[in-house]
Symmetry: none
Subunit: 220 residues, 4 copies
DNA sequence: GCGTAAACGAGACGGTACGTCGCGTCTTAGG
DNA sequence: CCTAAGACGCGACGTACCGTCTCGTTTACGC
């Protein structure tokens, strides 16, 4: 039941008037482990410090809030830059989403990110951090779409921001409801986001008319 | 600092071997008030009981967890059945979303729902409750879309489930990032979800071809 | 861990506007059982009512305090009147003490009496009850001693009250420190109380002088 | 109704990884005060902590049970070492008892000790603590008696343990029944315990024979 | 090269909230 | 009017963490 680990017999100590990277590492590792094992419920500063064999003030010195610690745990996982180029917008978006889902599924990042979002619901400061982080991620996807437009895959007046928002909303929803294992329907999803509900993704080029008929301009 | 209210001088007591609705009401009111004033951070069973002038065991008797209480606070707000009929699918969805945003914005339901989602990230039981609740809500929107298909507004093979998921994901994202005040772009969003990124919502019926061009079947 | 008993399936009910002896019996039995099994620690009105299959108000109606219930539990055990006559004072006292120890050891009376004394330390009303009860018991022993004096076993000016107080004090001490199993030394104790510390209870009739020497009158 | 005191404005804090004697003192003081004012009934860990301006965990850290706290409250009062030497055993015992009665009467020790005994009736661990404490106190009186024997005031075969037990039993009885104000009869009591019931404590040196006659050896 | 400053582990501090238990009171519904 | 049942407001229980503090130790840096 305890998340403690007997703690390495070797005792860390100060290395002078600056942050000891060993301690930082030990703390982040402990945090990631606890998150993976017990989820946000077991994730307390106290537990992290205990497991890391660190003093509580050491944790507080470098991460003033639980969220700050969570964010660093999350950030440490993603050196995997989401760099993709499949030569098609649809392929790019699909690849990005698949990587993201795998990232959330296979690393402590998933629980960490869920926790960050949760935290942001009660702590405005955490929300601000999250918003900043989110903007940066959105920017990245935005670039993909712009590139797609440049290639002519979407009309130039397409609303990139909405595409991004739909995709992120969808991913969040899946994460927050514990459904990151469902990824079989991602291709259809991407297609839908780009081309609408009515546009079948089979070999139905001829159905364009249907799609057209099904998408009257709002002024109609 | 305290969220207490001197408590009505009138002391409630048992009305026999069954739940006292006065207590239930007082507790739910207190919960809603605290949520509105202090957010999830100040929302503890203890604080609710104190403010309601109730004993802690009375709260625990009827709401075994904080989430259960939150859910009832949320549910109590929404006698406003989301019954709409604008004679068009796009109008229906737009109306539903607008009502939802207003509901979240103008009642304690917004903070409550944010809290429920947050809670669900650390407590599997809360997640289950939330999932159940969510399924029911999705069903409601699903029916609107089915009706739209019957009216011929969407082709029969349109993927209703994805439409629903996109819409909910979008709404959640806005709520969770504190953007429920942004509702000017809801019409465009609805249009986008139904007809894709490329389909402008102006008087561009002629652009059908563009939309078509922009939406190659995936097998292409 | 629970002291509950599934409760007789048969449900007792009112027998009109008076005390139902079945209920009283069930409650006293339950009380005695709990006391025997879990001691005073587990002895709560709530537990007694639960085990007796009775409502709490029924218990409160007839026994306003925990002590009142304890006293009745104790009293119910001791129809065994402490009537003795061994033709010698020493024998009488010894017999009385042995019976008392056995009574405390072999019935729920021991735990009950310990509990009553404990209760009396924080509740003046309980102390009053206890004092009254104690006076009556002392009177009984007092009579034995008076009889001994009449038989010439003690000089007429012997201080009966002190003898009684010493004996009761000794018994209480043994009870309260959990030593009612020690009764091998009771004969010596009785002898000591009557004839002093120096008077050996072996074949030392000749030692009378020693005893005398060892017991100078206080004025000396 | 509340026993709280506004708490000194000065807030105590940690003085490093060891017990803060200021806190300990404040807690013991508060405990003694509550005991003196409200008796055992009002004596809860919560109330003590509140009055001491201490956190509950701080109390629990150092005194795992209510009894442990009571015992320290009691022990702290008795720096008054019961060191006596009146050159006579009878005088020594009398002096010790008088001091004890005064101690119980004039300090919080009386209520404290009553509470400790009460507690011991329901908690075996408390009983063990009490037993240990009691053994030490008995040893002290035992030494007095041994000294008396060495002086020839009691025959060498006198049963010291019984004397001690009688004296302590008597004192307890007086304490537990709220009679520590009665101390006029202590001289007679001591005399009785040492020399038996029949031995008058007046100028009856001649009555030695009577005492002798009244104290047949049990084998007779 | 030596004093000082800062980080280290440890853990106690005053607190808040947890979820449970028992208190004694009250109201029922049913003999 | 008594009975079993059980909800009520209340308050204490003992535990977990919170975020702050002071400790004594262990470096590394700057005077």
């Amino acid at each position: 039941m305890s998340t403690d680990t007997p703690a390495p017999v070797k005792r860390r100590t100060s290395i002078g008037g600056r942050r000891n990277p060993q301690s930082a590492t030990a703390i982040l590792d402990a945090a990631a482990d606890i998150l993976a094992e017990s989820g946000l419920a077991g994730f307390s500063i106290e537990a992290v410090a205990r497991r890391a064999g660190a003093g509580k003030p050491t944790v507080y010195r470098w991460w003033p809030t639980r969220t700050a610690l969570l964010i660093e745990v999350y950030a440490r996982q993603k050196e995997t830059v989401l760099q993709v180029d499949t030569a098609s917008l649809e392929g790019d978006l699909l690849a990005v989403m698949r990587r993201l889902f795998a990232f959330w599924r296979d690393t402590p990042a998933g629980p960490a990110f869920r926790s960050i979002i949760a935290e942001a619901q009660s702590d405005p400061q955490s929300l601000a951090l999250l918003t900043t982080f989110l903007a940066e991620r959105k920017q990245h996807v935005h670039a993909l779409i712009t590139r797609g437009i440049a290639r002519g895959e979407l009309p130039s007046q397409a609303d990139c921001a909405t595409v991004v928002e739909l995709i992120f909303g969808f991913c969040w929803m899946r994460l927050l409801t514990g459904q990151i294992d469902r990824d079989a329907d991602l291709p259809a999803l991407v297609h839908h986001v780009l081309y609408g509900a009515g546009h079948s993704e089979g070999s139905e080029q001829k159905d364009g008319a249907t799609a057209l008929a099904a998408a009257p301009s709002r002024s109609a």
